[in-house]
Symmetry: D2
Subunit: 333 residues, 4 copies
């Protein structure tokens, strides 16, 4: 088991950047990520619009090149461990950003909603983060469920895309499914794939409605792997219990269509079904939670319980292999 | 405990119809519903476009008038029991209907996808329904999870709306959450509210991607109740574990916005939070699964775990009361 | 030339109403319509939310039954004359209604934009209506271009649809093309077709961005006609210079798709082209203005200059016949 | 009058590229552009999916740096002359591209529509291009109306965006308004602005429904200018008769909202109106044609007749100055 430590300057985009490190498939990578504010919001008086500077938002760590990865292949990123590095975390509203506010694209004549900062208490031992209302004394404990909002590879067509924009290359999909124990699959667009990640969340609701989650710097461990000769049109996820396709687009029904189309196609391939039979099966067996409905593109997930697939395994069962590597690593640590 | 049996002619719309029965709040109503094909599709050779006649699709049973219900009130419909009445069920594609096909509104120059019928085996004792692929020998057992796709009240503004169209009055929301043990809340638009329901499903995936679920005639028991002087802007659901707001609109992000806006407003009211604090809290604690993304309007759900609400109860805890009535009924039967 | 005068009680929906009058095809009908506020807003201090009562908005005159009209046929409504009956007209914002404001479906946490009334001076002789700014002294003369925002037939499937909702039956499409000299075609859903119209505008911009046009009571003359055995899937318009298809749906691209799909199909039929050739031709020769982007459904138009069609005439050249009748009527008056 | 000739290698993106030339404000630039196929489709048997290679589509000429242009300024691009360089032009369908077909984002289970090429005859002297149907003998003359589908500047946030994607930086907006006589305004994101253009069309319909226009290589003359200290949030256009705002987004109503919001804000500024008065005025006076409804983002225009603005001039009347330069240039040539 190779274990390496990645140190990199913060980047703010996918694409357009040389690798910070090159690793062989199967390597465990230890890294850290700053929060989406670059650590500049530390208390309720630090308004993001004042202490942050566009476009230096949502920093990502990387990129990591995977040896041998070529366009047409798939890289796997398995999350071994994701830990908040501080005993506090931040969420905010931000002017003209979020699902229940006028934005620069859903343009309206309203003044912006008030910008407000919430500082959560994080207690890793008890596994909770505490919401403290600003306008009342209420506080509520929520379970920690650490995850990364942003993970992806360099995009196709030589594009350079801001880290806050999700797409076929991954990026800021903001789904709570990107937690430890999950494997994410990305189609490779450039040699080495060039994996970056950031935007750690102590937890988030589906949809990330107000525009930010419980944002935190993270100490994270991943294993990267390579599946040669297998392409992946949109990012996919695999947990111990579910296969998941993602779709990212606007309007939201197109994100839904992409995710369902991919899950139908994938299922047809795995179970040797024709497209209509797979369409029928997924229609009755699948789940469809929102990822984000706030970013410059929206993300939907299509989930299928693996128990319906009997002995069938996706991607040559790389998920099981990576789980084993992860267990090995965690036992050694 | 009053228990009545409802017999009614099939209706195909919400609104425009005299009550089939009037009941006092708290009454248990036993009823039956036909499947969305009116029972006309019984095997794989019964193509819906040939054996069904528009607009005589998706029949609903009702309407039930609730004594004392007036515009501005809320009626509660608690599902006590939902049982498939046959040992088979049907799902189909239908020309120009579904999420992954050109439709009459997402109009395209493609020919329709093939129309195909799947006949599921239903085994109520074992609690399963069996998917049988048409183009291969594969068959897969799926858990029974009976529910109603269509339930609602007469709409506002004297409208008469086809039973397949969901909206603020409820209707064909097609969410798997409408199962036994759930209470649905509807704002009252006309005296008596005029509750109808139908479109039973042995189960469905979120999104109802292909356009139909595992469609079945049902023997169903509900309890209806009335909350005077409390309005409900969009249908809400409550289970033992979650509060749920629904939103129904196109595009899908508007359905999402409605559902989240309602859950934020509802939560603010329940927890005495201001709107921004509730927005923040729901953003981190909520779930956002799709209802349907195939009907003439789309439906999204916004779900909040009740365990975060401590002792707070919605609608004067009518859900608990109705659960008790349901238990009482089921024990007596 | 038969000329009749229609008097009817105001209605607020399409469908669900007996005919106010039955006429033979070819009949000239003189009628009057109130403005969308039912005449209740007469000055800048009459806020619609205070002086109007939902759902008694947007009254329509009718319905007119056309003798012999059956489902599967098409009725033609030719606008002979549309004249404002007062020397003033009204436009307003309305809380949570319009394209640049949060609405009940594009739900947001913003307070409503201010409700404001503008009173236009109407000078029919000079052919102008005068905009008077409320917050400054600016006033600007705009050309009168009288039209009807709302015209349609009883919907299919026994539905009763509020007059403010446009759809396949027509209704509140709010396109400035519905002016004198234009023929509108509607597919017939019920015996007699049951034509209603209202919502006169002294003029409107494309999109009707703020939600209301220069709203006015009108004295209007139409000729109605019948094309037997020819169906019309979505409302179509014909002027002396253009054929126009409409599409009404959400999101707006679906309204666009419907309108373009209909124009492609119609053009293919008129020019004996296959679908792809018609798709190509319309792509290069067509126009695509917005109708409304504010109502409960949005409307787009697809326009084709008739000069490209050589001798080809739509609907057996009924437009020319109705133009002749209109000229005859106007000369006699 | 400075006149320069630009020669550049084809680029396929906005951003990420050093200037091919730097010019002073007021300079006339002569240049040529290849068609969107890079000239590879020359007849009806040259299927784009076979003779073109992604992402080497839609080449643009440039970028041109404007001396002194800094973020926060506006550059003006006035089109002096746009001439097809060949006596033929090409339009095609392309698999999974266009408004009336399943695409990669509006993902569906349909097979792609047939790929077909149309070769237009171009007669510059007579000012026509001739459509020749493929499946019949019909041919129709359409007026030449040469324009550029793609024109823009380097985007903000260091992004590099494919030339086929329109956005706040301009790019592939595909509006027929981008013709000779029009001035386009772009907000500057990087020093020099870095203007590129391409994708000449002999003409196009609004919406560019099938996905391509009458595509042609062009010989084009522009004048570039600089307005210091004035920002422009979204591309704007000005002709002799109209001011135009553009909006580019999905869904199409968001493109509409952006364009109308910008026109309202712009009008408020020009006429010293408050936002609500401008909203009202634009609602009654404006036009709203589609740009493209096929690209990776959709574009809508909001147009206001300049005659309503009395003596008010936008951008210090640079349009008139550039018109004068253009006339001077054309007279000399």
């Amino acid at each position: 088991m190779r274990v390496v430590r990645l140190e990199s300057e913060p980047a703010y985009a996918f694409g357009g950047r040389a690798p910070a490190m090159t690793v062989a498939p199967g390597t465990v990578v230890e890294l850290s990520t700053e929060d989406c504010f670059g650590g500049a919001v530390r208390g309720i008086d630090d308004l993001p619009s004042q202490v942050c500077t566009f476009p230096y938002l949502n920093p990502v760590t990387g990129p990591i090149a995977v040896e041998g990865a070529e366009p047409g292949d798939t890289v796997a990123v398995h999350f071994v461990d994701i830990r908040p590095t501080r005993d506090w975390a931040i969420s905010t509203t931000f002017p003209h950003f979020g699902a229940l506010t006028a934005t620069h694209t859903t343009a309206m004549l309203h003044d912006a909603l008030p910008e407000r900062v919430w500082r959560y208490d994080v207690d890793a031992e008890r596994g909770i983060c505490r919401f403290n209302a600003r306008d009342s004394d209420l506080s509520i404990e929520l379970p920690l469920d650490p995850m990364h909002g942003t993970v992806g590879v360099a995009p196709a067509a030589h594009e350079v895309i801001m880290s806050i924009t999700p797409g076929a290359h991954g990026g800021n999909m903001d789904t709570p499914e990107m937690r430890a124990g999950t494997t994410a699959y990305f189609g490779v667009n450039v040699p080495g794939a060039l994996i970056s990640l950031g935007d750690g969340h102590c937890r988030q609701g589906e949809g990330e409605v107000c525009g930010t989650a419980v944002e935190a710097a993270m100490s994270t461990v991943i294993v990267v792997d390579l599946i040669k000769g297998v392409s992946t049109p949109w990012p996919r996820l695999e947990s111990d219990t579910h296969l998941m396709s993602t779709g990212t687009a606007r309007p939201l029904e197109d994100a839904f269509r992409i995710s369902q189309h991919d899950l139908v196609t994938w299922t047809a391939d795995l179970l040797s079904l024709d497209a209509l039979d797979a369409y029928q099966f997924v229609s009755q067996a699948g789940l469809a939670p929102a990822g984000n409905v706030v970013d410059t593109n929206y993300t939907m997930l299509a989930k299928l319980p693996k128990r319906y697939l009997a002995e069938t395994r996706a991607y040559e069962d790389v998920h099981t292999r990576l789980r084993t590597t992860a267990t090995h690593y965690l036992n050694q640590r």
